[in-house]
């Protein structure tokens, strides 16, 4: 791609971008959210017409690109959001759009054979007859990859493929990517996660503000170098923090049990304490009860049994708003599902959960001025961009959305903060900012429960670490005693042999 420029109104999404990808390599395209990566890929895939510049494939200049033409040229795109029909089987989903008929009937036999062959070649282990809706996220992604392989793609564009995956699934994906490369496929890997980029790519191109900042062999640069190129300044990847000075027990969870569907114990007699001024990290493979525990604490659902106290007060007696009033704040793990309303503006989102409180409402009537002032204050405090209270929340980048959520929750001046996946889908600059804030809060005496699927985040932020497995609290340990290996075993439900002894 040579000198690609693409405007959206006054906004320049790509400015004279050059991108050269060598056949048979994994090329990472790195940059923060909004750096122009997706625009560039959409130009390549023919979804957008570039204002300037040209695209060459195999040395041939390609004009009038369209998605259909891109497929003909051997380009295959795996989108960040999967486009599968949940009630169709894997095979049906894959055939959709390239289906052939035999005597008026849909021919599924020859594509089935072809599909089996590809599954075999790349060791993808997908059942062609499973319903797409019943597959795990990782499996669905494989189906998307199969879709482009079935269409004969030689170049695969993977747009933020790991954003929705668990660490285990990421490993699986990397295995597939390496296998694809060994078979001569070319992969463009779009990401802002430095570890992954380092782990998988041969070369990388960094974008910032719509321009290419540099293109390097991956082996020749460190994570710090990449981060600096992305953000444009030095970035502290390691969290600097002082020793915690824990105070009294702030939150205590005793014997909390939750019976799920099929009388399965989703939470199995969970005990945990969080003291004022400490961060307790809650680690575990996604789906082992962490989400449900947070929901019990936040008041979304009642446990079958157990007690939860905040500063000695019984939380379970209270509804959501009462909990907020006695000092709970909650950064939800999925900001689109719970943390914000994307179709409302930033202003309305700054008072989510505070709408009944003074000064935002008085005798039921909202005070527009007070809300606007609050929104401006939160936006300024957390450097939310764009700094406009009337911008639709859904039009902000993930990082800025999260900043807004955190700004709102922190401004409650909580006694206890639930920070569930606080940096999910957030770019590096914002991660650093969020981490620093959590530490500051801790130092000011707030009790924090950090729930994260990123082991590195748990390890670097927490003072103590708890591990959950199948609804049970496996162990709680000081962060200094924790290693990735030890946590990994606990997350798999295996007690350390030495630990098991006593």
């Amino acid at each position: 791609m040579l000198g690609i420029t693409k405007h959206f109104g006054a906004l320049v999404a790509n400015r004279a971008v050059h991108l050269a990808v060598e056949r048979g390599t994994v090329h990472a395209l790195v940059g923060e959210n909004g750096a122009g990566k997706s625009t560039l890929m959409n130009v390549l895939y023919g979804l957008y017409e570039p204002d300037e510049g040209e695209v060459r494939i195999g040395g041939q200049r390609v004009t009038r690109l369209s998605p259909a033409r891109a497929v003909e040229l051997g380009l295959g795109m795996v989108h960040q959001h999967f486009m599968l029909i949940p009630t169709f089987t894997v095979l049906e989903n894959i055939v959709l759009g390239i289906e052939q008929s035999k005597g008026g009937l849909l021919d599924l036999d020859s594509p089935r054979a072809q599909l089996q062959e590809i599954i075999g070649t790349y060791d993808l282990k997908v059942n062609p007859d499973a319903l797409a809706g019943e597959l795990s996220v990782g499996m669905r992604q494989r189906v998307e990859i199969l879709k482009v392989l079935m269409r004969g793609a030689g170049v695969l564009l993977l747009d933020e493929p790991t954003a929705v995956l668990t660490p285990q699934e990421v490993e699986e994906l990397f295995k597939i990517v390496r296998l694809l490369k060994s078979q001569g496929k070319t992969i463009v890997f779009i990401s802002h996660k430095l570890r992954e980029v380092k782990a998988i790519s041969d070369r990388l191109t960094v974008m910032r503000g719509g321009e290419v900042v540099g293109s390097h062999a991956t082996a020749g640069v460190t994570e710090g170098d990449i981060a600096e190129m992305m953000v444009g300044r030095k970035v502290l990847l390691d969290v600097k923090k002082a020793e915690a000075k824990p105070g009294d027990v702030c939150l205590s969870i005793q014997d909390v049990t939750l019976v799920g569907g099929g009388s399965k114990l989703v939470l199995d007699h969970v005990d945990l304490e969080v003291r004022a001024g400490e961060i307790v990290g809650l680690a575990g493979v996604v789906g082992n009860g962490q989400t449900e525990l947070v929901e019990v604490l936040a008041g979304f659902r009642a446990p079958s049994d157990g007690r939860v106290r905040l500063d000695g007060r019984d939380l379970l007696e209270m509804d959501v708003l009462e909990r907020y009033r006695v000092g709970l704040a909650h950064i939800p793990e999925d900001r689109h599902k719970h943390g914000m309303v994307v179709d409302m503006d930033a202003r309305d989102n700054t008072i989510l959960g505070k709408q009944r409180d003074e000064p935002f409402s008085r005798s039921g009537v909202l005070d527009e001025t007070a809300i606007l002032l609050e929104a401006r204050a939160r936006i300024a405090q957390f450097d939310v961009r764009p700094p406009r209270p009337d911008v639709r929340a859904g039009d902000m980048s993930g990082g800025n959305q999260q900043k807004l959520v955190i700004a709102r929750e922190v401004s409650r001046e909580p006694r206890f903060l639930i920070a569930a996946m606080p940096t999910r889908g957030v770019d590096i600059g914002a991660i650093e900012f969020i981490h620093r804030h959590l530490i500051e809060l801790r130092d000011s005496g707030v009790a924090i429960l950090l729930v994260s699927a990123e082991l590195s985040e748990v390890l670097s932020l927490s003072d103590r670490i708890a591990v959950m497995y199948e609804g049970r609290m496996m162990d709680v340990m000081a962060a200094s005693e924790a290693t990735e290996q030890r946590l990994g075993l606990l997350m798999a439900g295996i007690h350390d042999k030495a630990e098991a002894a006593h």
Binding site: H338, V341, L352
Partner: protein, 346 residues
């Protein structure tokens, strides 16, 4: 702010313009003169003070049912049952207006508010039932509100066969309500106009719905429930309770629309007066993009069109079927323009 308001108004204006152009093609293609047909349309809708009053009168019940649909829609609920709620409200208003006739309550200051209150309550409860079913049992409100429309229409017809309710006459109807329960008509426009104080009540409801939706925390929570139920739970709104309350309020609005028809137009509960009022309310809410002011404008558009169509029917030989096609073209384009605008704004 101002620029976006101008743009908001420009789109429907363009839509109406295009619709009239297309309509003109239809008129010419069928061998009529657009000047004649549109002349009649205009005259019927706005040609005289009396006709304007007719247009406003036609619009009045649609403001109520349109608001009912729009309010529920803001909370993510599709209330197809405005018609049924309107019927029940109308019946309740008629009964208060008839039963309290000659009692101590038979003064304008008590019988009229009581009749309106009864209508709001009856419509509200009729709406709250599918709301409750949705909140507690998860039954989809579309199915239940549709079904309850049938029940209400049949109940309405049934009531008019009950000896102590019906009144002898060529048409199934109740006796006339007390003169004190009548919503005063705008006689200064024309002695026979039935444009009545119910229109002012409708305007009041437009403001009230707007105020509640955007100026109270109740409305704030209601909108969150509509946009993102998960976020509503997070923000401390009780989704179930909000659903029931919204369906009650929605039904109450439709019920008031029924009261306006009984107390301001027909003066008694009469069979089949309700036909189409609830369903047109859905179209009004769509055209008005579920905004109270949009609903008001949408209702006025429908009311004026209905009136203009009647004039075309009465005074020209243009076929009735084509009048409906013409109406449909206009409504279709206005409604589509809303989506065009949203897409171009995004």
């Amino acid at each position: 702010m101002q620029r976006s308001l101008l743009r908001d108004l420009a789109y429907p204006a363009v839509a109406v313009f295009i619709a009239f152009l297309l309509g003109a093609l239809l008129v010419v293609a069928t061998g009529y003169s657009p000047a004649e047909i549109y002349g009649a349309l205009w005259h019927g809708a706005f040609g005289s003070a009396e006709n304007v009053a007719w247009s406003l009168q036609n619009a009045t019940p649609l403001v109520f049912t349109g608001l009912a649909v729009a309010l529920a829609f803001r909370a993510g609920l599709f209330n197809v049952g405005a018609e049924g709620q309107l019927i029940l409200g109308a019946f309740a208003a008629s009964q208060v207006g008839i039963r309290l006739k000659g009692t101590a309550f038979d003064t304008t200051l008590s019988i009229l508010p009581l009749a309106l209150l009864a209508a709001a309550l009856a419509g509200g409860l009729w709406g709250a039932i599918p709301g409750w079913l949705k909140a507690r049992l998860g039954v989809h409100e579309v199915i239940n509100t549709i079904m309850m429309n049938f029940i209400a229409a049949l109940l309405g017809s049934y009531f008019l066969t009950v000896p102590w309710i019906k009144e002898a006459g060529s048409v199934p109807q109740t006796p006339i309500v007390s003169a004190n329960a009548v919503l005063p008509a705008a006689r200064f426009i024309n002695p026979y106009t039935r444009l009545n104080a119910g229109f002012l009540l409708a305007l009041g409801c437009v403001f009230l719905v707007w105020f509640v939706l955007w100026r109270t925390w109740h409305g704030f929570e209601l909108r969150i429930v509509g946009l993102n139920a998960g976020a509503a739970t997070y923000a401390g709104a009780n989704v179930g309770r909000t659903t029931i309350a919204v369906m009650f309020a929605s039904g109450a609005l439709a019920g008031l629309g029924g009261a306006e028809q009984v107390l301001g137009v027909h003066y008694h509960f009469i069979k089949d007066f309700w036909v189409g009022l609830g369903f047109t309310g859905i179209a009004v809410a769509l055209v008005g993009e579920n905004h109270p002011v949009g609903v008001l404008l949408g209702a006025l558009l429908f009311g004026a069109l209905q009136n203009g169509a009647a004039e075309i029917d009465m005074m020209t030989t243009f076929p009735r079927e084509l009048i409906q096609v013409l109406q449909a073209i206009i409504i279709f384009l206005v409604a589509s323009m809303g989506y065009v605008r949203k897409r171009s704004a995004a």
